[in-house]
């Protein structure tokens, strides 16, 4: 059983469109994250949520809006997609934000903007 699952795995779309990526974890974790991995493979945190509450927003453009309907789900909605948004987006979860426990990652969503 997949612990952290995100859909879709691939997303190809036109510049200016709005799209969403969904993430679900079945580990019972309290904290969930979104990361962006660029073409140079650098993994950088975008957001983290603890029990549905936003705790980290790393100067991400406000075209990116995370939504957490419950602590097992953290979705990412992106408005007005730009060429520079092309990357692999990873969802992750951990037991709690201050538990210094490792994060568990999904397999990523590869977003390509045409």
């Amino acid at each position: 059983d997949t612990a952290v699952s995100q859909t879709p795995k691939y997303l190809v779309t036109q510049m200016g469109n709005d799209k969403s990526i969904k993430c679900e974890q079945n580990l019972g974790h309290d904290t969930m994250y979104w990361y962006k991995q660029d073409s140079k493979k650098f993994l950088k945190i975008m957001f983290s949520y603890n029990n549905k509450e936003l705790i980290i927003n790393e100067t991400v453009p406000n075209r990116f809006s995370p939504k957490s309907p419950d602590k097992a789900h953290l979705n990412l909605h992106i408005n007005s997609l730009e060429l520079g948004d092309s990357a692999v987006y990873f969802c992750a979860s951990s037991q709690a934000v201050d538990s210094n426990q490792p994060q568990h990652f999904g397999d990523g969503t590869r977003l390509s903007i045409l």
């Binding site: 952290v4 140079k40 493979k41 650098f42 993994l43 950088k44 945190i45 983290s48 705790i55 980290i56 790393e58 990873f90 992750a92 934000v97 201050d98 210094n100 426990q101 490792p102 994060q103 568990h104 990652f105 999904g106 397999d107 990523g108």
Partner: protein, 108 residues
């Protein structure tokens, strides 16, 4: 500014040729140092957590060590299936900071 630097960027070894990957960090309030393995098309997979200088962890052919300024991932007698990108990450009290990774390729 807090940062995590990994070296080398890429490493090619013959099967059985042992080596070490380096992760140096300057992070205030470090709570732990993580090592992950990432295969192409996959998310990072957790390997080790190190919490204090002098600590060592082992798993099969991998051993991770930690000092006050850096961590090493030693790989002993590697096999082709050990080929992957190895990421280290420093756990601060509010977030985790990743290095850019070392791409390891083991030739049969």
């Amino acid at each position: 500014e807090d940062q995590v630097t990994q070296s080398p960027e890429a490493l090619r070894l013959q099967e059985g040729e042992s080596s070490s990957l380096n992760c140096s960090y300057t992070v205030s309030g470090l709570r732990g140092l993580f090592w992950y393995r990432q295969d192409p098309g996959k998310g990072p997979e957790f390997l080790f957590t190190l919490y204090s200088a002098g600590e060592e962890k082992e798993k099969e052919r991998l051993k991770a060590t930690l000092t006050k300024k850096e961590s090493f991932l030693h790989i002993t007698a590697p096999k082709p299936e050990d080929s992957a990108t190895y990421l280290c990450a420093a756990d601060r009290d509010d977030k985790i900071i990743f290095g850019k990774g070392t791409r390891l390729h083991i030739l049969p």
